[in-house]
Symmetry: C2
């Protein structure tokens, strides 16, 4: 079966491009002696998690416990959860999961530590703990090196959990500033920092210039998307996932409607100044996906010399591929258009 | 079980509010002699589709064939698909579905008509056809009354399909303008227009002032959301669906991070000028959900006198509830907080 025979809208993944993206970053990490721990939020597939580990990754990164469970139950054995795990129910699940994989968790506060400590006291093997710190992402993480040391000390006061290092997102020059101050404080306190984990696809290949991390967590690099192209982190030929859609209406000569709306492409936009619209049409580069309703994508063809006809299929590179895979029950894997597999997106919707 | 015991993030639906919203619009339609044909894109649940029909709706509206299939297979017998159904595969599915329900389809072009005609020639009962027309939504639909009549004539040239009327979205004063010109043309051509179907929750209760439609298609009214509040179409107490989330980090005094990001709330924003951020926190009305990553919601608490603590649960009214239900495998139905059911969102992800 060829992907042109698949009914639309449908996400398709070029297997060779994805594998090439896996190999290329692994080679960079090997050359620079970084451990690679890919974030599976982009593909959400056990198959690719195993491919990444076979290529040399030390383990995987997930955001939620529900993702860790599926990955552990499909044979992944070293899993980092970069999210404050909190509450009794999640603590119980975390403890149970230590029967199947080596788990570590990144936290930034004492309340999360309480949950981890409870889980650790019931765990089959100790749970690794990293302290998340601020690198300018203005999301979460302790704000000062002193807070990091204090929280690490609190980790050390519990059995069943094991302090293993520091974690941040994204890796920036502020990461280096924080570490310059933090690492001497840890040394002074006699606390070993084995892992320093940074992340983010846009700067992945610049990690060696940015900060003294020894582990990389990156997700989007396996598929890439229009955001990564805008960030100069990928070329069109590095984009492994496309959405195939059909033109279902041409109400005016300069307007087309495709059967891919926000339920297919998501409403995620590029950062201001990086490009307008909800995706890139490589075969109609001057057409803009200017509006999305849930099931309708409205194309402005005003500046496109060629215009797709009703019934024609178009290919779309989505703005943000990680949220696209979360919208689909399955993706089709292909090689040069020949379908290799329909894969369930096993980790889709695992927000808990 | 009480909803406060559910692990987060989780969407919960107040059953009594949803039922009250169903009754209230049905009463308006009954009083004004409109047929009500609710759009199920908001709840995506056979249970509520049946509740809507029991309350007096003549049938339901869906956008995609996959939605129609599940609804027909769970006992709904009168289904309008307001979308150009196109291609051989979909035509075959449509034909098969006529064994279980009376189907009608709104189209705006000849190519879609070809697919319908093929389906109609294999259908157990004729497939109803409506012509979609432009009412200022600038999405799809024929642009002129003349085009509508021409397409209706083309419908009449096929057996197995049956022209039943006109359809537009949303209902506006332009709907009235179009009909003022179109209806005499249809009369002159000797073509009966039985159904004139308008839609949209924001103006639903003004339909009688806007245009001479005889059928209403509305979806969001059952749950409502922050968009409907901004459009003055709902009050807070009319919002049936909330997302419960937990504060997992308080990295700074003016910043909180909740465990609901774009995979839970979607990235949909309100229209410019209607309100900032990604949702409303009724218990912290001055807090803003200023940024979302996939699993992180970043709250700005700078203007909020009270600030939620780490571990605290917060309630969120989402910006756009229809895309939120598409992100979750199930919702919890409750009455005064007591869980009545965990319902699978059966129509989630049915984009084909």
């Amino acid at each position: 079966m060829h992907i042109s025979e698949l009914d639309t809208p449908v996400p398709v993944v070029d297997y060779d491009i994805a594998c090439r993206n896996i190999r290329r970053l692994q080679e960079y990490c090997d050359a620079n002696r970084f451990k690679l721990r890919p974030h599976i939020k982009t593909h959400k597939l056990p198959l690719f998690a195993h491919e990444q580990c076979k290529a040399g990754a030390v383990g995987i990164t997930v955001q939620k416990l529900g993702e860790a469970e599926i990955m552990a139950h499909t044979g992944l054995t070293d899993i980092l959860i970069t999210y404050n795990v909190m509450g009794q129910e999640k603590a119980e699940r975390l403890a149970r999961l230590t029967n199947f994989a080596r788990l570590s968790v990144a936290i930034d506060n004492e309340k999360a530590l309480q949950s981890l400590a409870w889980a650790g006291s019931r765990a089959r093997v100790p749970i690794g703990v990293l302290i998340e710190f601020e690198s300018g992402g203005n999301r979460q993480g302790v704000q000062t090196p002193g807070q990091a040391v204090d929280l690490a000390k609190a980790v050390l006061s519990h059995s069943g959990v094991e302090f293993i290092g520091l974690m941040t997102y994204p890796t920036t020059t502020k990461t280096a500033e924080f570490l310059r101050e933090a690492l001497p404080l840890f040394r002074k306190a006699g606390i070993e920092v084995s892992v320093i984990s940074g992340g983010g696809t846009p700067n992945a290949y610049r990690t060696h210039e940015l900060a003294p991390v020894n582990e990389l967590r990156v997700g989007t690099y396996i598929y890439n998307d229009r955001m990564m192209m805008a960030a100069q982190a990928a070329r069109l030929e590095d984009c492994a996932l496309s959405v195939l859609a059909t033109v279902v209406s041409r109400p005016r000569s300069e307007r087309a409607v495709i059967d891919a709306g926000s339920k297919t492409l998501s409403s995620d936009l590029l950062a201001p100044g990086q490009g307008a619209g909800y995706g890139l049409l490589p075969d109609y580069p001057d057409a803009s996906i200017e509006r999305l309703n849930e099931e309708h994508g409205v194309l402005d063809l005003g500046r496109s010399p060629r215009k797709p006809e009703i019934g024609e299929r178009v290919r779309i590179i989505p703005n943000h591929v990680c949220v696209v895979t979360n919208l689909h029950d399955s993706i089709y894997l292909h090689r040069d258009g020949a379908v290799l597999a329909q894969l369930s997106v096993y980790l889709r919707g695992k927000t808990i």
